[in-house]
Amino acid sequence: MSAPILEAVDLSKRFGAVVACDAISVGFAAGELVGMVGPNGAGKTTFVNVITGYVTPDSGHIRYRGEELVGLTPRSAVERGIARSFQHPQLYDNLSVLENALIALSIKRGEQRSMWAQLKRRAALDEAVALLERFALTEALETEVAQLPEGRRKVLDIALSFALEPAVLLLDEPTSGVSAQEKFALMDTVIDVLAKTETTVLFIEHDMEVVEKYAQRLLAFVDGQIIADGRSADVLADQRVRELVLGVVDAS
């Protein structure tokens, strides 16, 4: 394997008595498509929070293209090309779907300080609509985001992180709350765009069908540790993973 683009070394984080991240060491190569599974409370979200600088680890290192990320803020992680989506969508609830996209794109273009340019320029509008079209979000362009059904919010949340064209994208349960029909369409869109750009994708997922279909590599989290790491099929066949993650009790 070539040198990893993103690497965690001995990463630990506790919340009181809970060890949410227990000396995790793991690396990811550029362009990898990695699934992350594990029961609720296993520390998957915390892992994403720590990598993106939202939560400061108690100890350990995060290296991105060789650079130490510990101590940096989510903003500096984003500036370096690491973006994420959220388990619970983080959106601008009082703005429209279109405005949410326009804001994300204008930040991407580096206009966040601009006071005189218009946000809703023709070119910017076209770009935003194109982004939303890709995620089939155009039928509700003018809808205030607070009024959107949960599944649509989830998709918009992912669309916003896409606007940044990141090199590493972390998706926190992208398909939870999304209807069964839409799930695969959504993942296809994600994979389709990312495959062309060599983006590294880590996605947390509870739906094993989705995992089996899309993850090239799979990490299984339990109690803040990665208990299995390898090709999806192998990990899903692992005895402990079957027991602790999938909840299958093998007759033996």
């Binding site: 929070n49 939202y54 939560v55 983080q90």
Partner: protein
């Protein structure tokens, strides 16, 4: 040397006075999550009520303790009536809404209560100095200090210990702490949160009224005293950390000493001195001395 002891004693008196008011403010914030801008108005109403009772019923020759009883009775009356009234009729409608919106609701209440006070008691000052002057002075290191100031200090200590006992020794106190910590969980635990809110607001309001009533004999009770006290109380709770009772105690001492130092060393700049202290505290402890930061879980 003499200035030092004067600063310490004056500081203690100021601290006691402002503690009585600000501990109520912080208690209300802790439980209801509402910063009550009208807290000063309730202080003022307590002062008017106390002053009015003393002027009306207390005469020289009566036992001194009677005047204190009158003052406290007035304060309890104000708290018992205004507390439930305001909480039930007004604040309850705003629970769960934006914090700042709630702040503006209490600002509106401040405006209303200000005029209401003037309508009831007029705009001429009330002087209820009899208890104060009758108690006379005590001389400490050649400087005479009014004995009445001791009443404020005692009241602050009693209130502080009383609250401590309620919080740590009673079921109601445990409920209150639970609500302060986490409202949702308290509800699921079966705590009657609305009732705890009403009770906490009433206690806080009563404390403001007590502060006002006990201060009445030392000042001329005029329109505008609500503003002075609320502005100082904010400094106290911001320094101590919003919602923290210990913070209110420590904040009061800091504000009291800062004010006394300013009064003795740079007269007329007391407010500036207090806010300067506040700014310094905030630079190093952005959430106040006992304030907690809770990162949002995502």
């Amino acid at each position: 040397m003499q200035t030092t002891s004067a600063i310490l004693i004056d500081g203690l008196v100021y601290a006691s006075w402002i503690f009585l008011v600000s501990v109520g403010l912080t208690l209300i914030f802790g439980v209801l999550r509402i910063l009550n801008l009208a807290h000063g108005s309730l202080y003022a109403i307590g002062a008017y009520m106390g002053a009015w009772l003393v002027v009306r019923f207390f005469q020289p020759g009566m036992p001194l303790w009677l005047s204190i009883v009158l003052l406290l009775f007035g304060a309890l009356l104000v708290g018992a009536v205004m507390g439930p009234l305001v909480e039930r009729l007004l604040l309850r409608r705003t629970y769960g809404r934006d914090e700042v919106l709630q702040l503006l609701v209490t600002y509106a209440l401040f405006l209303i209560l200000g005029d209401l006070t003037k309508l009831i008691w007029g705009v001429n000052p009330y002087y209820a100095y009899l208890p104060y002057s009758l108690m006379g002075n005590v001389t400490i290191g050649k400087i005479p200090y009014p004995r009445y100031d001791g009443v404020l200090i005692v009241a602050a200590i009693v209130v502080g210990l009383g609250l401590w006992a309620i919080v740590n020794r009673t079921r109601f106190g445990k409920f209150m702490v639970a609500v302060i910590r986490d409202r949702e969980i308290s509800t699921t635990l079966g705590i009657n949160v609305p009732l705890v809110c009403t009770a906490a607001f009433t206690i806080g309001t009563t404390l403001a009224a007590i502060g006002g009533a006990l201060t009445a004999p030392t000042i001329s009770v005029v329109p505008g005293i609500d503003v002075t006290v609320i502005v100082l109380s904010f400094a106290v709770v911001v320094i101590g950390g919003l919602g923290s009772l210990e913070g209110a105690a420590l904040g009061s001492i800091i504000v009291g000493l800062a004010r006394a130092s300013a009064v003795h060393l740079f007269p007329d700049l007391d407010l500036v001195a207090i806010y300067l202290v506040m700014a310094v505290v905030l630079i190093f402890k952005p959430q106040g001395l006992f304030g907690r930061v809770e990162a949002k879980r995502i």
